[in-house]
């Protein structure tokens, strides 16, 4: 049955609130395509998003979707996975959600390495509040809250994740749908915490980091050949180099997942029989006699 599913089967009837031309459309259609190509079914997909323009994506993907509070998508997604390891769990949010208000959870989810996928839709601005500087905005970026130019250095999310022990790091561009689908598919299939940062231009507020700008300022790490995503120092070099932004699978390793280190049982917690096990608890009282 799953072979018959198409991206349309992952669509909802809810009309989008995004501006025409928003990069997030590309992310959404790549996600639907990737899930269909992987043979996933909506009932087994849990999709958790944060707050912001990007956070609205959970309303547009037919699945068990969770649109929580700002910055906390990763703790929710981690626990959904622990509760039911049979689910395909994907979290999504923007650069503000993941690298500002949710930065702590980002770092600690990298450390934990649960088998979930995180899509960071990076538009280098706060779109839904009308264009303030974000954690990935360039220094000097002029906005309503930074009229004298953004004084902060932009965060390099993937480099931070690599330093913290990230087991799968990829970056895509929402205007390259085919490559983005492949990246998301590879990420979902990765056993561990897979991060896909997607350059997703804000056509309304970010007049610097436009589609044309990204086309000029990005390259794929496997373009030239010889790039080994299993080599951590290669990955650091690529992520920290001045100049063009690297795209593609930048790093991957086989570090054990949270589920394996916690010795999570095969049976999902959600399907445990709670009544049946009650008699086992009587004996615990002996400890207190």
């Amino acid at each position: 049955m799953s072979a018959l599913l198409t991206p349309k089967d992952f669509a909802t009837a809810t009309p989008s609130w995004w501006c025409p031309g928003c990069g997030d459309y590309g992310v959404l259609s790549a996600l639907k395509q990737a899930l269909a190509e992987l043979g996933k079914v909506p009932k087994d997909v849990a999709f958790v998003s944060g707050i912001g323009c990007s956070g609205k994506i959970s309303g547009y993907l037919h699945s068990y979707a969770f649109h929580g509070v700002h910055g906390r998508a990763l703790p929710v997604a981690t626990a959904v996975k622990l509760a039911n390891r049979d689910l395909t769990v994907i979290a999504a949010g923007g650069d503000g959600d993941g690298y500002a208000i949710g930065a702590g959870h980002f770092l600690h989810t990298v450390r934990r390495n649960p088998n979930i996928t995180y899509v960071v839709m990076d538009n280098q601005t706060y779109g839904l509040t009308k264009g303030q500087s974000s954690p990935t905005s360039a220094t000097g970026y002029v906005t309503g809250t930074s009229p004298g130019g953004n004084p902060d250095a932009p965060i390099n999310g993937l480099a931070v994740a690599l330093a913290a022990g990230g087991s799968f790091l990829a970056r895509g561009f929402s205007a390259h749908p085919k490559k983005l689908v492949d990246l998301i598919k590879t990420a979902i299939e990765h056993e561990g915490f897979s991060i896909v940062e997607v350059m997703s231009p804000c056509v309304t507020y970010n007049k610097i980091n436009t589609y044309a700008w990204f086309k000029e300022h990005t390259y794929y790490v496997d373009d030239a050949g010889g790039y080994d995503p299993a080599d951590r120092s290669h990955a650091f070099d690529a992520l920290l180099a001045e100049g063009k932004i690297p795209l593609g699978v930048i790093y991957r390793d086989g570090r054990p997942t949270l589920e394996s280190l916690m010795h999570l049982p095969e049976q999902p917690l959600a399907s445990l029989d709670l009544e049946g096990s009650k008699h086992q608890f009587e004996s615990l009282q002996a400890t207190y006699r």
């Binding site: 309303g59 068990y64 509070v69 626990a79 622990l82 709670l274």
Partner: protein, 601 residues
């Protein structure tokens, strides 16, 4: 003089073993068939700083602290200085005289002094200074005429897991303490003694353990928490036991993550909880609102301590009541339950999961340091009586398009489906949404959806734990209170009753939704109403006044110095204000030297 009641205090420096010795003797008193309550008074540091451990033992179950201390075991001079005024006339002090001497000016004449070089005996006779705690136990046991074999057995039982060598050493230590007393002070010199009884089928358990145990039995299989005093015991207990039953306990990076993890696991269909204290509770506030609007069942254990901010992290207070009831932007249905004993902590904790799941909302279990970190004796827990009612949980496939996760229903509760089940796909959004879960700002939908959610507060009424009314139901004097104050209030009532004064006590077990009708009925015929609580502003008293209106004879008896009530602090204002006897002063003295504020409305 055989008593049926004794209060013993071990005082020393944090990390020197006072708490271990306290635990040891609490276990021994339990084996002697006595009812036991313990209270830990320790500083927020690991090594050094005065600490003490109080053990109340006797025939009365679930009293709290006594008015005064009968026996003080002082491991240093600081313990004497700190607590000499709390001793009952006729009581006694065991003082470790190895390196310090009690100045004559400090030696109260109405108590007996037993100077024993505990550390010296430990070092010279037993070769290990650490065992001075066990020696002190031997001294105490001899002084109060405890049965030698019982004490030996209990010591052996406590150290059994550490091997024969440790057991042998501690038995020699306890004997050495007894022998020292015989040689220097004679046989049973204090005259204090306790009437032993058969132990029977009973437990000695800490409040936090009872809460965790109740949660496990009720089917909680996921916990996420962040270490915080005095709630950490719950996470440690669950981390130890949950994996054995297929569950998971996660130490999160902060309370924000902890509560959001609990939401995630509960969304996926697992009974889930967290445990925290004031500062962590404050951080969880936003996500609690999310649980309310997403209609996700979550259980939050609040182990209250003094606030605001860091406050006094290891001291007790009830000042988080308003926070639990009113915190958060927007309005959600929520439940606040409060156990009054360790035993009730088990049942209330277990019940919280049924209420949370039946009514799909956050449920708080409110306890405080003086109860959750205290041990008490209790009858065997009735594990079989714990129900697991999952309410309107949908476990079979539904038809997509027909199924409505947030369906408008008469009782406000909608059928709840979990990921993995065919047909139930939907968006759970913190934004206002339609019955299907689609985000909408439609005004009529908003009103209907708010009405639906808030209706649950009415439909859940019958399921909420009922208040317990203690004492003579016809008494003219009435007390309201909850939580750890149950013990001292019940003792105050018993003592007043013995003096011919009838008092009744309404012990709240559900604090929200507020039991308005029951409170109004209880207050109606009372001539005097006393509201006993550990806070400054009288948070409970104000809730009661919402219901009753201002009452001429309503008195707030409150305390906020970090220490639990002693019964005299409840008896005194009743005698003065309701019985018009006793001192005329507005401030009654209390054993720990702090005034008790009593005001007339």
């Amino acid at each position: 003089m055989i008593l049926n009641d004794i209060e013993i205090m071990f005082g020393g420096q944090a990390g020197d073993g006072s708490l271990t010795t306290g635990d040891l003797i609490a276990g021994i008193f339990k084996k002697l068939g006595l009812e036991v309550y313990t209270y830990k008074d320790f500083p927020s540091r690991i090594r050094g700083g005065h600490t003490n451990y109080v053990i109340r033992a006797g025939e009365h179950a679930n009293y709290g602290m006594a008015d005064l201390v009968d026996a003080l075991i002082a491991f240093d001079l600081e313990a004497v200085e700190a607590h000499i005024e709390e001793l009952r006339p006729g009581g006694f002090i065991i003082f470790d005289s190895t390196t310090e001497t009690v100045p004559e000016s400090m030696r109260r004449r109405d108590v007996t002094w037993y100077d024993v070089p505990l550390a010296k005996i430990a070092k010279e006779d037993l070769g290990l200074e650490l065992v001075r705690n066990t020696i002190s136990l031997g001294v105490l046991a001899k002084l109060i005429g405890m049965d030698r074999a019982t004490v030996r057995d209990a010591v052996a039982g406590v150290y059994e897991r550490k091997g024969e060598k440790v057991v042998g050493l501690n038995i020699r230590a306890v004997e050495a303490g007894g022998e020292y007393v015989e040689r220097h002070f004679g046989e049973w010199p204090s005259g204090y003694g306790l009437q032993a009884r058969p132990d029977g089928d009973r437990l000695l358990m800490m409040g936090n353990d009872a809460i965790a145990y109740g949660a496990l039995v009720a089917g909680c299989r996921f916990m996420a928490g962040y270490p915080i005093t005095p709630a950490t015991d719950v996470l440690e207990w669950m981390a130890k036991y949950l994996p054995k039953y297929g569950g998971v306990a996660v130490q999160a990076e902060d309370e924000l993550a902890a509560i959001n993890m609990v939401l995630g696991a509960a969304f996926a269909g697992v009974r889930s909880m967290t445990a925290t204290s004031g500062p962590g509770q404050a951080l969880m506030t936003e996500a609690i609102g999310l649980a309310g609007v997403l209609e996700i069942p979550v259980v939050v254990i609040e182990c209250a301590r003094t606030g605001p901010s860091t406050g006094m992290p290891t001291k007790t207070e009830q000042s988080n009541l308003n926070h639990l009831i009113f915190s958060g932007h927007g309005e959600i249905p929520r439940v606040v339950l409060a156990p009054g004993t360790v035993e009730d902590s088990f049942y209330i904790s277990a019940k919280a999961f049924d209420i949370a799941e039946k009514y799909q909302c956050p449920v708080f279990v409110l306890t405080e340091q003086a109860l959750c970190q205290s041990k008490a004796t209790l009858p065997l827990l009735d594990v079989a009586s714990v129900s697991v009612d999952r309410g309107k949980l949908v476990t079979e496939p539904v038809t997509f398009g027909e199924y409505e996760r947030f369906e408008f229903t008469e009782d406000g509760v909608s059928p709840r489906i979990i990921p993995g089940i065919e047909g139930g796909m939907h968006l759970a959004a913190g934004s206002e949404h339609s019955p299907q879960g689609v985000i909408t700002e439609n005004a009529a939908n908003r009103t209907a959806m708010m009405d639906k959610r808030m209706r649950k507060l009415v439909s859940m009424r019958e399921d909420l734990p009922k208040a317990i009314v203690h004492g003579d139901p016809a008494a003219e004097i009435a007390i309201f209170g909850y939580g750890s104050n149950r013990g001292p209030i019940v003792e105050a009532i018993d003592r007043l009753e013995r003096g011919g004064v009838s008092v009744r006590f309404f012990e709240f077990r559900t604090l929200w939704p507020f039991p308005e009708e029951e409170v109004a009925a209880f207050a109606a015929e009372a001539q005097h109403i006393f509201v006993v609580e550990n806070d400054f502003t009288g948070q409970l008293e104000r809730l009661i006044r919402y219901v009753t209106g201002p009452l001429e004879r309503m008195h707030l008896v409150n305390k906020y110095n970090g220490k639990p009530f002693r019964p005299i602090e409840i008896i005194e204002p009743i005698e003065r204000l309701a019985l018009l006897r006793g001192p005329e002063s507005v401030d009654g003295g209390s054993p720990d030297g702090e005034p008790v504020r009593v005001k007339r409305q």
